[in-house]
Amino acid sequence: MSARLRSLLLTLAAPVLAVVFAAIITSIVLSVSGHGPIETLSLMVDYGFQPRTISLTINSATTYFFAALAVAVAFRMNLFNIGVDGQYRLAAMLAAAVGGAVALPGPLHVLLIVVVAMLVGAAWAAIAGILKATRGVSEVISTIMLNFIATGIVAYLLNTDRLAVQVAGSNNIGTKHIPESGHMPGLSLIPGSGTQQVFGFVIIAILAGIAFQVLLNRTRFGFDLRATGQSESAAIASGVNVKRMVVISMVISGAVAGLVGMPQLLGASYSYGLDFPTGLGFTGIAIALLGRNHPVGIAIGALLFGFLDNSSNILQINEIPNEIVVIMQGVIVLSVVVAYELVRRYKLVAEQRRVSRELSAGGTGGPAPEGAAA
């Protein structure tokens, strides 16, 4: 179907255009600081396509994917979960503590940790959902505040008097090391990547993406969620209990947020310490928006961000300011959304034009008003 194809091409045109635009901006910035843009970009690409780096990129992307997915669930119903950050940190910390405290057979141990993380994430997010549903508190504000509060709670619990242990000889402290049975084995997906395995959790990420898509597009619940996102008033009139939906979708979002720390926890660090990665929730927001809240888009966005993050090292080695990576990320997000918007408008006008063309070709000609025949 050529119309379909055209629409698809248009949809793809947007991000491509945007990335090109971002490349131009970055080139200007690079030139100003006296670095060759072409060399720099080819350096990044060269490095980015080495097997090790691909593994690393996939690993970063797996984590980002969950963060963005968590944001996207809420965003699909117009809820803005800025609190993914606090949710995953609290969840990972408590899950790590539980995981370190028990000994269970292999898969069960992992399952327990994951379930605890999801529950904690969900519970923390539920606070914002409940406050919104019952007290009308904007989730934007409440989740920002809850991030700070989560920081305090984690800091309180991550203390050698409570859940933490001192890592021998180090200035780091962390939860008790999770025994082997609670590890998620890595995958040797990329040939030639040596010791750098891909997180086993990448499989869960793919499953989560599929589940997300099925949930939203194939279930009644998903329909209600999307309907609420598109028009709250219409959703209410159709019988959706919006307050309940607010709480449920925050809970789902929080549960997914609980997974954010899992690839790292179960695949690399096996303990929640002071060096556990932070700020992933905020990156997740940008990636969700970049990927238009669609799992495939999010996956692409996550890989792109992972790639950019990992190229920071190679840039530094070559004495190129690695801050351009952050600038690039910002420019890409902004230009992608501008491009999407332009394409969206173009498509809307094209569709209206098509509707009226097909209708007039359909032969309702003559002076009779529309619908008079009925």
Binding site: M145, F148, I149, A155, G330, L334
Partner: protein, 421 residues
């Protein structure tokens, strides 16, 4: 879509119950609060809760937040949600520091901070007004950009400077501090006697009128000035109409795009000023990561303040105050604040009970009891907890008052010319 969903807003929009702060109620509330604090101080002996030092620190901490909030106010009154305040603030800290150092004049830094923030605002306006991008998306992108650009510029420019580095600027020349002459001595000796109410007032006055930076005064004046411009002038009316009903404004010949542009650029400039305050006055230096989320807190203060200058000033003050308390020796003062919370919750309980609202009354009552018990069984509050006092207080106050808030009707709605129906 940027405004997000408003649960039940359309069906429960409280018409008469909308909260409009008048000067009289404001002054009364402040007076009541001072008395309450004084009583609590006398009971608990936490003398720092009304000391001049606390008040002075509170103002210093509140100003950047208030400026970010004012930035939010300008944008949102014109219908543009600005979550990019943090990024604009970062630009303000950097450019403020750079120009302050470069021209060896802090006021040059103030101007540069304004301009730096305004550039961020301009970008936001371009994305949201001209290209119709979702306001939140654009704001998120600007936050990323603000970080990247300041990091990049620091590396390029500060690294070569004496005392500067990749992550910090050289020291910035300071801005003069002024005091009302002749009051410091008497007030501080009065304050030290810890007399009920009198010492508290002395502390408050001393905090307000002794050792205040000129830029603090400028910043504080911007709040009533914003009120005047937005609520009393033709320009302000037009700007606000763009946030309430842009098609109506357009139909009367108001150039909606222009006003939105101006509003968002001013918004960025305000945030930039907050940033410049932070680097020039509050720190005397630019440090990467210095904004530490204050842009977001400013946004919260604005919502807390019901999209009004007085309200946001109160929000920023509350934030600055609780933050000052916790930073100035935390545990004891914040512990004393618990009693304030108890009193307020009891008041809510009584108020709800008289209106025969059983459930809210019960909830507030139980909460009051719990807080009281916690107060009685502890002597202090762990430092990890005192640090989120301002955030927790904001959350609590919002959950008591959020339903009385009213945002501009077309806030966050993407507007396109000629949509009129």
């Amino acid at each position: 879509m940027a405004t997000g969903i408003k649960v039940g807003a359309e069906l429960e929009a409280p018409r008469k119950a909308i909260f409009r702060l008048t000067w009289k109620t404001l002054l009364l509330a402040i007076a009541a609060l001072v008395v309450l604090l004084s009583v609590i101080r006398v009971i608990t002996g936490a003398n720092d809760i009304t000391s001049g030092g606390t008040m002075n620190a509170a103002i210093g901490l509140a100003v950047p937040i208030a400026m970010a909030g004012l930035g939010g106010l300008w944008a949102e009154r014109a219908g543009v949600v600005n979550i990019g305040l943090e990024g604009m603030m970062m630009l303000g800290t950097w450019f403020g520091a750079w120009a302050g150092v470069q021209f060896a004049n802090p006021w040059a830094g103030v101007v540069a901070g304004l301009v730096g923030g305004a550039v961020g605002g301009l970008l936001h306006a371009l994305a949201t007004v001209t290209f119709g991008v979702d306001h939140i998306i654009s704001g998120v992108a600007i936050n990323i950009l603000g970080l990247g650009v300041t990091q990049y510029l620091s590396k390029q420019i500060f690294t070569g400077m004496q005392g500067g580095g990749e992550t910090q600027s050289p020291p910035i020349p300071g801005i003069t501090k002024v005091s009302l002459p002749g009051i410091d001595g008497p007030l501080s000796s009065l304050e030290k006697q810890h007399i009920f109410l009198l010492s508290d007032l002395a502390g408050i006055l001393r905090g307000l009128f002794v050792d205040v930076s000129l830029l603090t005064i400028v910043a504080i004046l911007l709040i009533p000035l914003s009120f005047f411009v937005l609520w009393r002038t033709a320009f302000g009316l037009r700007l606000r109409s763009c946030g309430e009903r842009p098609v109506a404004a357009e139909s009367l010949g108001v150039n909606v795009y222009k006003y939105k542009y101006i509003a968002v650029v001013v918004s960025g400039a305000m945030a930039g000023l907050g940033g410049a305050f932070l680097s020039i006055v509050a720190s005397g230096i630019y440090r990467e990561g210095q904004t530490a989320g204050r842009g977001f807190i400013g946004l919260a203060a604005m919502i807390f303040g019901n999209w009004r200058p007085g309200g946001l000033a109160a929000g920023a003050a509350l934030f600055g105050y609780t933050d000052a308390l916790q930073l100035r020796g935390g545990g004891l003062s914040v512990h004393a604040l618990l009693l304030v919370v108890v009193v307020l919750l009891v008041a809510v309980t009584v108020w709800q009970a008289t209106r025969a609202r059983v459930r809210p009354a019960a909830i507030a009552g139980v909460m009051a009891a719990l807080v009281l018990v916690y107060y009685l069984v502890t002597d202090t509050i762990p430092q990890e907890f005192t640090q989120f006092t301002p955030h927790l207080v904001t959350l609590l106050v919002l959950s008591l008052a959020a339903q009385r808030l009213r945002m501009p009707a077309a806030d966050g709605v993407i507007y396109r010319k000629g949509q009129t129906g």
